[in-house]
Structures are given as structure tokens and as C-alpha cells.
Amino acid sequence: MHNHFDCHDLLGSLSDYLDGEARQELCRAIETHMAECPNCRIVVDTLKKTIYLVHATAESQLPDDVRARLYKTLELTDYLK
């Protein structure tokens, strides 16, 4: 990152910005800074993509054998479909 005060500021507000929780004024400041600072632009874009990839690969399949043993432990086998 550039040796620039705003890079540090940007880093501190990144999560709020990415989660859509930053106020409009802060968003504008971040976007203005990114237009001037290619490294911060890359950090923001790749961070956004990182979070996207985590979501895209988060499976929530319960293996059948694990599910069967869970229902047995809980004495719920009557409800196992």
C-alpha cells in the first residue's frame, strides 16, 4: 500500500464497507481513495472476491451415515425420512 494516511483509514473501515454498513460519507471517501490508490483498489476487490468464494464453497450437506447416527442418538429414528 502507498505510504499514505488514507490507506490505513481504508483498512480500518473495510469490513463495514464490504458489509454495506458504512455511512454514505465514508463510502465516498473510500471510493475516492481507491480511485487514486491502485493497491487499495486491489485489496478491496480481492477481499470482496475472497468473501464471495467462501460463500460459494460453503456446502451444508450432512452425510447420510452421520445423519442416521444423529437420529439414533436422539431417539428420533421414527422421523428419519
Partner: protein, 201 residues
Amino acid sequence: MSDNTALPISLPALQAGDRAEFARLVETYSPQIYRLALKILGNAQDAEDVLQNTFLKALQSLPTFEGRSSLSTWLYRIAVNEALMLIRKHRPEVQVLAGDSDSDDDEDYIPVQFVDWTTIPEDALLSSEAVTYLDQAIQRLPPKLRLVFLLRDVEGLSIRETSEALGLTDTAVKTRLLRARLFLREQLSGYYQERLLEEKH
């Protein structure tokens, strides 16, 4: 998710001992609880133990559950505690939730990789090798960052729900979440940079 998850789960029915409703609770939340446990612990047997213990504990605690948090946050909290007990058993030296050292290691999370890998096509970003690398990177997160990251970014809990599930302040959750995300970004940047270099040769 199956059809029987369409209606909200009834807490009064659960507390009255309605077995069908409890089965619906298990059916609805067991995949997420298992995924969370698997990603915290990185071991299928431990994850299964946590899954079973979570619902056994939930069954036991239902009569005294006051409903101040949602059922899912409550289950996540039980699962996290079960997972932490296993971590402490295996690695007693690890301090997972202690919240007083958050400012010690700020320097470690300042970005150093500035490669724009977002231009790599989606199918290459999500190759099975890349997905395995991402999973391993999540496992390399320090446990206290991993918990926050998994609840917020994998399970989709809000900052407040994550704080409730872990017994942390919102500020601690936000700090840890940012560090975890920056850590993973660095790891993925290193990985995809190599893929970009391979492409050029």
C-alpha cells in the same frame, strides 16, 4: 433444505416436549451445525461428536431456554462451546476466546500482496484444488479468528448474533472478522498469483 423447514420452529411446542417439532429442529439445523463443527475442528469424527452433543445439550436445556436469542444462534452457541471443549482437550495451550490481546498483532494483518487475481475465470477460481486450498487456509486461521469468521462469513450470522454466540463484544467481533478476512485474502492472493504465473509460462 426439505419442505418441513418452511414453517418457523415453535419454541412452545419444543418446550412442551413435542418430538416431531424437535425432529424438525434437528432436520433444519443439523447440516449447518455439522459444517460449522467440521470447519472449526477440521476432523469428521470430532465434528460428529459436536453435532450429537449439541442436540443432546439442546434437548436438555430447552426447558430453561428463554428465547432471548434465536434458536439458531442458541444452537450455534452450544456447538461452539462443545467444539471449544474438544480444542481445549486436544490443545490445552490454545487461548481461543480471550479477548484482551486483540491489539498485540496488528502488523501481521497489513496487506502485502497486491496481485489482482479477480480476472481469473470463475471455474479456475473454484477448481477443486483451489477449494481445498481455501479450506486449508481457513484451518490455518488462529482459532479465535476462525470462530468469528465461520459464524459471520460462512454461517451468515450478523455481527450481533456472532457476538452473542461467542460471548464477545461487537467491537472484538469486528476486529477479528477483519483480520480473518485479510489473512485469507493474503493466502488466496499467494495461491492465485502462482496460478497466474503458471498461465504465463
